[in-house]
């Protein structure tokens, strides 16, 4: 298993767990209580921990003499392209869902904005790293 593959697996796990936490938290706590100060502090703490974990993972898996060849580059490129498309679709579906859900009310609760912002970023990391893991098994 090379450096890229290891990093992709760790990233997938880290951001996958964070994505699950964000979705579950939002579902359980609810739209109205999501931007409650305590909940935001805890959620921000989780995001910060994930970021620290990600940074440490990058440092720990950094090997100076690791070879990155054309196959690694191709996989990275394909995964990035697919990840961009998936993230765009994610945002589109979420926004259309919000529009349909709040069309009659005429306004969307601000907690959805916070949720959209963070889940979009987390989803992009998760989707790209997942695709890298899949492509390393296929190619």
């Amino acid at each position: 298993m090379n450096k890229q593959q290891k990093r992709a697996i760790y990233t997938m796990i880290l951001f996958g767990l964070l994505l699950i936490y964000l979705v579950l938290n939002f579902t359980i706590v609810g739209v109205d209580n999501f931007i409650n100060r305590t909940n935001l502090l805890i959620t921000s703490g989780c995001i910060l921990l994930t970021g620290i974990g990600f940074a440490y993972m990058l440092y720990a898996t950094n090997k100076k003499n690791a070879i990155i060849d054309e196959r690694d580059d191709q996989i990275q490129l394909q995964a990035t392209n697919i990840g961009i498309i998936l993230t765009t679709m994610f945002v589109f579906i979420l926004m259309i869902g919000l529009f349909i859900g709040y069309e009659e009310e005429g306004q969307v609760p601000v907690s959805w904005m916070w949720f959209t912002a963070y889940t979009t970023s987390v989803f992009s990391f998760f989707s790209t790293s997942s695709i890298i893991v899949i492509l390393y098994r296929r190619i």
Partner: protein, 70 residues
Amino acid sequence: MLENKVKLFRVKENLTQEQLAEKVSCTRQTINSIEKNRYNPSLELALTLADVLNCNINEIFKLVKVKTEL
């Protein structure tokens, strides 16, 4: 579709995948993927492989036409 005989020529030269990878400056996993026809190397890598395995590129790589049925 591209088929190759990299494994055949590698064994003929008494090289492991690791040794061949080192000679052509790529990873062992890439050599493994090429041998299993899961990955098509770039022209540069294909020519380097032919050079290291002491043969013509046409001997290692072969284009196979696949009929698509509608």
